[in-house]
Point group: C2
Chain length 445, copies 2
């Protein structure tokens, strides 16, 4: 690795970064001036501003408002190249990563492929209750929400119509809170006059949380405030409630059956499954237990950052949370270490531990309603909302995105009109047939 | 129909409009004050500003920039309701139209479901060369263009890479001209520095036209000018050239084989196939031969408007062209007739013929390049382009759309950056297996 290559001027050490999220993209950019060659690979061609993904799902923003092509972000960075492809395997001995289009050797590897939904072993739920991680997820959720309303408008059976007008969000973290609030606003304000046969203001929005409060990653008073705000808006918040079963058209909360054709999963996440083949220790959510310097135990040349990493902050003693600022800080930390080692300034034995600098957390609830905890300060209501808006606009990649998102919001909050309310794409299968009938590959059984 | 109902105050005559394009949406809006009830049905939930669809395919605009939910357009119109559903059949005797969600009776019917691609009997070509009619078509074409570039970047075989960097547009009408020009701009200006292993400025863009000039619906000098402009930009324009065969990875122009993995179909259109069951006379392109008043022969209560109608203008003697302004004028004409008949002002026997008011035509070629023929005036170059921009902005539905599109263009033309360059969705099948194996419907042969 670096030692070997620093004696050979012609070939700079190769840093392979897998994942173009907040960790990966920030690491790649921070290595712009380092004497290394960078390969950034991702299964999507875009870097996504994930904190606003729920606004694509709820038709406030368009995909292009919150996503930027990775190639475009790195176009000026001459030491970086980009590959589109999903990681299929890692060979720690040979120091190679595998993609469908071929393999790539590395001197340093940064794994930052994030997390995926966890259905706590009930994988069949995925078809009924999609989660929200990618643009395609968001467009699928948008399609389902809008189609449910269209179907309700034509439905003559009262019970079936109620099911189509009942929206259940599972999980009371920021994504769940934001989705539930946005759904209520759509149903109550944006679309009632679009329909003739249904009254969308009667649509039920139900937020289900297994714990005894919302927003567990935030201070308790913020969770309570979110609960009150949502209740005031008309969202039914069910705490201490667990989804025990799902079937087509209904879910069970505890032993109570609830007719609903719209379930969105915002509950569990787990580390990307490909790391299971590494043979390293994983935590209960499938995240990699890394050293304090974010390296894989026994492999100082391999780092893990972002939602995929389980690391304990040395000062607070708490695990670093799976949020965008933490991922960004990890990516910058790893890039800094690699840069210093390649330059010979430090050796792997001298690496400092990663320290998370918590700048606070916030969640938006609805029009002019949000909660924020910044250091010792607590904000709620319209001031918190304004703060939330400004901070999210600021962190969006690139001027164009910032400007367009701001204009979309001004338009949306002033008019309640959802500009992006288009149904596109074909439906994903709701219920997978257990034997995967007829995928054209000639599975004769 | 109207006579029958006008004696019965309680039930207004029912006007069913199928198709929410320029004809249908304008007819529905024009009936806003008429004593009728309107049902507008479409298989999509949006009205599409089709003249700019190629800009979604080429990643300049987002779908929401050029499409508006039909429900939203008609939300204030109390006599109108909207249904999402594809027309599956028409019963002229019972005066009923059929949708998957049920049937609807009509007193007046306006069929405005437009046209679809025609592959001149070679239906297998559709999988290789998608056409551009819907948002989903545009996103599919965008996905293919961007994926071809991604694949070329990884491809080591020179011939295969050339095929991925060769883009063929079939058909030299406005859509074909605009697509070819936009593709050249992307390859030559927007993205070269995004890639490390390929030189996108060497990508070939080939425009194939069977006739001896481009833009046949416009005056000859405009077609020649477009040809010169495109050639100057580096587009290869092949006139008097016919695609004779297509296979995966290549097309044949005459008897010459050309390796290409990117073919876009902008050649033929045909009337929507559902009208074949009507038993009425169709022209060679499957459009309905209507009376001068746009009614179906023998059925004064059924009108056909837009791209689906074949009607000859009584003054010029020419068939009315399949363009947005003609569709709009037809929709307004039919709404006016229905309004007058319901009010008892005229009888079906007194209907005037539809007259097309040709305000001109235009096509954009590239950055600051367009051609326009407005009455006797001919424009080209940057003035025509400015005219084209202003007119298209003006006709976009709603202020939001106009404003956002204008800002996107300013951004795009100033920076050459394609803001919407995201790959989303799953690939549609490129090559359909000839027997349609395994669609899960149990086609045992």
């Amino acid at each position: 690795m670096s030692e070997k290559n620093s004696s050979n001027d012609s070939i700079p050490p190769k840093v392979v970064i897998v994942g173009g999220g907040f960790a990966g993209i920030n690491a790649a950019k921070a290595l712009g001036d380092a004497p290394v060659s960078v390969l950034l690979a991702d299964r999507q061609n875009y870097h996504l501003f994930q904190p606003l993904l729920y606004q694509v799902a709820t038709a406030v923003l368009s995909p292009a408002d919150i996503a930027s092509p990775i190639r475009h972000i790195l176009k000026e960075q001459v030491n970086a190249e980009v590959r589109l492809g999903e990681l299929t395997g890692i060979d720690l001995e040979k120091r190679e990563v595998h993609f469908p289009s071929g393999s790539a050797r590395y001197d340093y590897l940064l794994l930052a492929i994030g997390a995926t939904h966890s259905y706590f072993g009930k994988d069949g739920w995925q078809a009924i209750a999609p989660g929200l991680k990618t643009i395609d997820d968001a467009l699928e959720i948008r399609r389902r929400i809008l189609m449910a309303l269209e179907e309700a408008e034509c439905e003559e059976d009262e019970e079936s119509r109620r099911g189509k007008l009942t929206f259940v969000v599972v999980g009371g973290g920021p994504t769940g809170v934001e989705l539930a609030g946005a759904l209520k606003e759509i149903a109550a304000h944006s679309i009632p006059s679009d329909f003739r046969h249904i009254d969308t203001t009667t649509a039920r929005i139900i937020l289900v949380e297994a714990a005894d409060r919302l927003l567990q990653a935030m201070p308790e008073e913020m969770g309570r405030r979110a609960e009150l705000d949502l209740a005031e808006m008309g969202v039914e918040v069910l705490l201490n409630s667990r989804v025990t079963e799902m079937e087509d058209g209904a879910i069970y909360i505890g032993d109570q059956r609830l007719s609903t054709e719209n379930v969105i999963w915002a509950a569990g996440v787990q580390g990307a499954p490909v790391v299971r083949s590494l043979g390293c220790e994983l935590d209960g959510q499938g995240r990699v237990m890394v050293n304090g310097d974010l390296s894989l135990p026994g492999h100082p040349e391999v780092f893990v950052a972002g939602d995929l990493a389980h690391v304990v902050d040395p000062e607070s003693g708490d695990p670093v949370p799976g949020v965008a600022p933490a991922a960004k800080q990890m990516g910058l930390f790893v890039a800094d270490l690699i840069g210093k080692e390649v330059a010979g300034a430090i050796s792997p034995q001298e690496r400092p531990p990663f320290k998370y600098r918590d700048k606070g957390s916030m969640a938006t609830i609805g029009r002019f309603k949000a909660v924020a905890a910044l250091g010792k300060h607590r904000f709620s209501g319209s001031f918190a909302w304004l703060l939330w808006s400004m901070i999210h606009i600021y962190f969006l990649v690139g001027f164009r995105r910032r400007f367009f998102v701001m204009m979309s919001w001004v338009w949306h909050y002033a008019s309640f009109h959802k500009g992006a309310r288009l149904i596109t794409g074909s439906p994903r299968m709701r219920i997978k047939s257990p034997r995967g009938a007829g995928n054209g590959e000639g599975k004769n059984e």
